[in-house]
């Protein structure tokens, strides 16, 4: 106990000392001092004191030093100053000079900036020994970087190199490190370096550490150690290495399992968002809308346009005319919020296109589903070509807002934010659809018309208007799907085509006209797709097997998971 507290206080004191010395001399000053020193051994010594400091300026200055861009300038007063020449040369060949020790512009006696000619100045010398010392500083530079990601990267590189010389630096860092993730990496890197240790006891201890950490990145190095120990027949090391490998393997199984479930749910959510609109137009209304995929594309292109309105604007070549949409040149959080505006915009644009489609074509084809299939296929071809003519045949660039690109890593399982978002989004949409269908008067009318169109008409419901709004609602949901898909996949003229088959399958498997069935089947198909991919490591085969599975499933339940019971015959 006493020893521990003494150790603690020692660490504290040394930490304090360290910060005091930092206050005393900035890296800039240290480098300037080294540059002014005449003796090359002294230079090395001064440079080495920079080890463990994480200031970015160290790298810049050292690189310039090595590139002969640092000069010793003697001022009028006879004072020697180390300067860095920067900016382009002007006609006289002069460049502006910056003092290395404080980063300020070099000024003459009258206080106006001095411009120097590189050739007239004496470049700061460097020899091999000095360059090596600089490299040692730079290698460990990122270890003290204020950015935790950079620190992790540096620690990983050091661990993978297994260079025992770097061990003290890692241990020193471990003492002051606050971030738990970096600490973990430090522990792993130290253990990896210890694997090279000649003592078996150290090796076994390192393997025990690695077993506890069960990090995937150490797998290959442990394997190498195991092989080495096997040839040297060192039983304790072999068993420790095997333990560590087994721990990593079981951890991998765990991560894969939950990763698959997570990806399955998010794939299912994508399918669900795309299929929900179809569940309404096909399931409730009985209209085979082959142009449903194009409604998705309408949503995606709307997102693209909204994004450009927030950004630099866009010019659309609309049938020979060019339609310029000015941009707001928004930046930062305001630009990133474009997606929040794109979501309702996609819904309403797709809903409007859907309503136009219903008024123009589909209203004549109720009760003739095969004809509605044909006519909407024609519309689908037509719209795809219109997309091609307006937005080009190639994919357009839709950037994700920063709050959708990133991930959480919980115990090595990666949760991408956009996948988490899609799950939340799907729940939100399903819940919203449920509310619209059950709690609004439009929903009541919709259900009445879909159950018995003639009876509803007799009761005075304007069925054609309800049809129009229902179709618009279904198409709007497709537009929402498009807004979302634009974030995770390419936005191009055939975006919708790649989803239409799966959407129909989802609705059919779920049981036509049943929203709960659509939810179940979407999540089920998404999970099946991801697990088969995980097992076969082959996405195409996974898709094929899912389709075959669906065909076989329909043998068992021809009407889908949830059967809508009815006594009608034809």
């Amino acid at each position: 106990m006493k020893a521990l507290s003494r150790l603690l206080s020692l660490t504290l004191i040394s930490g304090l000392l360290c910060s005091v010395s930092l206050l005393a001399e900035t890296p800039r000053e240290t480098i300037a001092k080294a540059a002014l020193n005449e003796d090359s051994a002294k230079k090395r010594e001064i440079i080495t004191t920079l080890v463990g400091q994480g200031d970015e300026v160290i790298k810049t200055l050292m690189d310039d030093w090595k590139a002969d861009k640092l000069f010793i300038h003697t001022t009028a007063a006879g004072e020697k100053v180390v300067v860095r020449l920067q900016d382009d040369k002007d006609d006289a060949g002069t460049q502006s000079a910056v003092r290395v020790d404080d980063g300020a512009t070099l000024k003459d006696a009258s206080g106006s900036p001095l411009r120097l000619v590189a050739k007239e100045q004496k470049a700061v010398e460097h020899d091999r020994g000095l360059r090596n010392a600089m490299k040692a500083v730079l290698d460990l530079l990122d270890l003290s970087s204020p950015d935790a990601k950079k620190r992790i990267q540096a620690v990983e590189t050091l661990g993978a190199a297994q260079n025992a010389e770097k061990l003290p630096a890692l241990e020193a860092r471990a003492k002051v490190e606050q971030d738990p993730e970096v600490l973990r990496e430090l522990k792993e890197a130290a253990a990896l370096i210890n694997l090279k240790n000649s003592s078996d006891d150290v090796k076994v201890a390192a393997l025990k550490d690695l077993k506890e950490l069960h990090a995937f990145s150490s797998y290959d190095l442990i394997k190498a150690t195991l092989k080495e120990a096997e040839t040297a027949s060192k039983a304790p090391v072999v068993s420790a290495a095997k333990d560590a490998l087994a721990a990593i393997d079981s951890h991998r199984t765990f991560v894969d399992f939950f990763g698959t479930i997570f990806r399955g749910i998010s794939t299912g959510s994508i399918l669900l968002i795309a299929a929900l609109g179809l569940a309404i137009t096909f399931g409730l209304m009985g209209v085979i809308n082959m142009a449903h995929g194009e409604m998705i594309a309408v949503g995606a292109y709307t997102t693209y346009i909204v994004q450009n309105i927030f950004g630099a604007g866009v010019t659309i070549p609309l049938f020979g005319l060019s339609l310029a949409i000015p941009g707001m040149h928004a930046t930062g959080a305001w630009y990133n919020s474009y997606f929040l505006f794109a979501i309702p915009a996609s819904f309403f644009t797709a809903a409007l296109v859907g309503i136009a489609l219903e008024r123009g074509i589909i209203q004549f084809l109720y009760r003739r589903p095969l004809e509605s299939l044909l006519a909407t296929w024609g519309v689908s071809l037509l719209l795809q070509q219109v997309f091609r003519l307006t937005f080009g045949a190639n994919n357009v660039q839709v950037g994700s807002p920063s709050w959708l690109s990133g991930n959480w890593t919980i115990s090595d399982i990666i949760f991408n934010w956009n996948r988490v978002f899609v799950i939340g989004f799907a729940i939100f949409i399903v819940f919203g659809t449920y509310l619209v269908l059950t709690k609004t008067s439009l929903g009541l009318l919709m259900r009445a018309v879909m159950q018995n169109r003639n009876m509803a008409a007799c009761m005075g419901i304007r069925t054609s208007r309800v049809n129009m709004l229902t179709f618009g609602f279904g198409s709007g949901l497709a537009g929402l799907a498009g807004a979302f898909l634009s974030q995770i996949t390419n936005t191009g003229p055939s975006l919708g085509q790649s989803y239409i088959v799966e959407c129909f399958m989802t609705v059919v498997v779920g049981g036509v006209g049943n929203i709960a069935g659509t939810v179940t089947s979407a999540v089920g198909i998404g999970m099946a797709d991801q697990s088969i991919q995980q097992i076969l490591l082959n996405p195409v085969m996974g898709k094929i097997l899912v389709l075959v599975g669906i065909i076989l499933f329909l043998q068992w339940r021809p009407a889908g998971i949830f059967v809508t019971r009815s006594r009608s015959l034809d």
């Binding site: 084809l365 004809e371 024609g378 071809l381 070509q385 091609r388 088959v501 049943n514 015959l569």
Partner: protein
Amino acid sequence: MSMSLVGNNFFNKRRTIEFAAVGIIGVLMVVVLPLLNSLNLMSNFWLGVIGKYLCYAILAISVDMLWGYMGLLSLGQALFFSLGGYMLGMYLMRMIGGETMPTFLNMQGYTDWPWFFGPFTSFPFAMLMVLIVPGIVALVFGFLAFRSRIKGVYFSILTQALTYAAALQFFRNDMLMGGNNGFTDFKFILGHDIRSADTQRILYIITGVVLIGIYGMCRWLNGTKFGLVQRAIRDSENRVLFSGYAAAHYKLFIFVLSAVVAAIGGALYVAQVQIINPAEMQVDKSLDAVVWVAVGGRGTLLGPIIGAISVNALKSWATNVFPDAWLIILGGLFVLVVLFMPKGIVGLPAQLMGVWKRYQAKRPAADETPVSLPETSTTESSASSPAK
């Protein structure tokens, strides 16, 4: 009774007109055009293009046998068409000869032909496979589909999924069927240079004769009692079931038959176009064939032929003159035909006659457009089944 019904129908005026039309077109296609070609009055290119149209016409007839006469809209006919093509393609690949394996096998590490290519050195075997492989696929799928009484739009969606899955599979290189590029660079068929004008002319004539033969066979089948039951199933399957017919057997037979017909068309197509790849078996190709039937007039046998030839001729013209607008023209055509010409080109004279008669009957108040003709087939009514 049914026989007399058939007999009375057989020599009516419409039928005579149709036979005359088919006869004239047949002679023109099979005799006059090849003759012009051999006299150098018609280019090889154009004969090849028309040969391609004739293959498409065979595909269209297979769609119509299912859709027009049975009420089953199959979106998988392009699959059977290309399966037939692939089977002949396997023979043609073996006939290329030479020491080296084709690239798609080399890339998979094969130094010898895989086992299933083995018997394809025999032309009769390949011909048999053209009929059998698509037939078996159709038999298995049809058995599963009709057993669980999948019909109407569900049948369409499932055949679409089947085609989609097959195309994905054929796009894969380890399927060993040429992957993305498919089969091409053919050299010999039955010892003749497949690229020579003479061979191509003979293949053209065979295509024409086969098309007329298939037309004749379907015409005959529709005239029999089988054909009557087939149409009865289209109009009301339940009544046919209640009358004691096993509707599923009829459906399965026609489904397999039309798959085989489509496959024959595909084999002839590959022999003339000399390339087959998975792009031919995608869902939109199936839907193209459906367009031809709809435009020509479904439920007739002449309609699909006229539709396939005219839509493809329109396509050849439009993709040259307005390459950007072709899909818009096709899509628009589709919508217009469905809305305003439910009986297609073949039904147009009767439709115009009807409009004319109505105009004559009530002279001033003739502003009613024939948007929704009440007598258009109501094959499917699952849409009206009440939702929960």
